[in-house]
Amino acid sequence: MTRSLRCVVNVFAIVVFAVAYLLASDSDFGFLWICSVRAAAHQGEPQKLVGSVVIGVYPSTDKRHESFTIADETGYVMIPLRPGSYCAEAYGTDGKKLPLDEKTNGGRPICFDIAAHKVAEAGLTISHDVDYKPAIPPKGID
């Protein structure tokens, strides 16, 4: 009886450790596919993609936990994020905040939800009067 009880306890402990290990080692995240564009100066004109914009993403409830990524030279970037609600804003590579277009979302950061293993899409529209010149080499191998 004691031996079988010990066996059951051992199996239970192994299962608990295995589950804990799997939970600790793997990670659920989703992806944000985001582009940065400059608003058109005049109505009817197309928006233009802006490359190498630093995008700050933070949980919608906690601005202190902001993380950053940089769009590629075409203006797009894929960001892995843990599931949750987030907001995004734009910076230059020099760290200066890029004002967002007042006509798009009132110039406020855009917000979106991330679900595990799903891709969300969003766009950051920078004010038309921003003349942004990034100072960073493009990604790639020389």
């Binding site: 080692s25 793997d26 990670s27 659920d28 995240f29 992806f31 630093v54 700050g56 919608s60 601005k63 202190r64 936990h65 902001e66 993380s67 950053f68 990524t69 940089i70 590629d72 894929m78 960001i79 892995p80 994020l81 843990r82 609600s85 907001c87 804003e89 910076y91 590579t93 760290g95 200066k96 905040k97 004002p99 979302n105 009132g106 110039g107 406020r108 950061p109 855009i110 917000c111 595990a116 293993h117 960073i136 990604k139 790639g140 191998i141």
Partner: protein, 128 residues
């Protein structure tokens, strides 16, 4: 007593009126940030120690002081450029499906420092 109740009533409503309305994305003041840039290469290392760049690797960098996590995914060339605020960071890597990759260095050797306005190069090696 009635005056006291009226005072409480007035205080309750006046405090409510000055509280900001709940917003999903409140307007933030124009606060600039200080960043350094991390140039990361994601490298799959074989049994004999040979390595090659691998694309689509999710790299998680965690700030040692405030535990803020930053994710990035390497491009088709196996390169990732990540802007990070100054501080000490440690990294780990995952497949794009979230599977934790077995790193080729112990945790203590997977940390680096980011300085303001500086570039740092980091090789993220994992076992194939």
């Amino acid at each position: 007593m009635l005056r006291f109740r009226l005072l409480l009533f007035a205080a309750f409503f006046s405090s409510g009126s000055i509280l900001p309305a709940a917003q999903t994305a409140p307007s933030h003041p124009q606060v600039d940030i200080v960043l350094g840039f991390v140039h990361i290469e994601t490298i799959a290392v074989g049994d004999r120690g040979e390595g090659h760049h691998k694309s689509g690797i999710v790299v998680l960098m965690t700030n040692r002081a405030n535990k803020v996590e930053s994710f990035g995914i390497s491009n088709e060339a196996g390169i990732l450029i990540e802007p990070l605020p100054p501080g000490e960071y440690c990294y780990e890597a995952f497949s794009d499906a979230g599977r934790h990759l077995k790193m080729n260095r112990p945790a203590l050797e997977r940390c680096f420092e980011v300085q303001a306005g500086k570039d740092v190069e980091v090789g993220v090696g994992f076992k194939e």
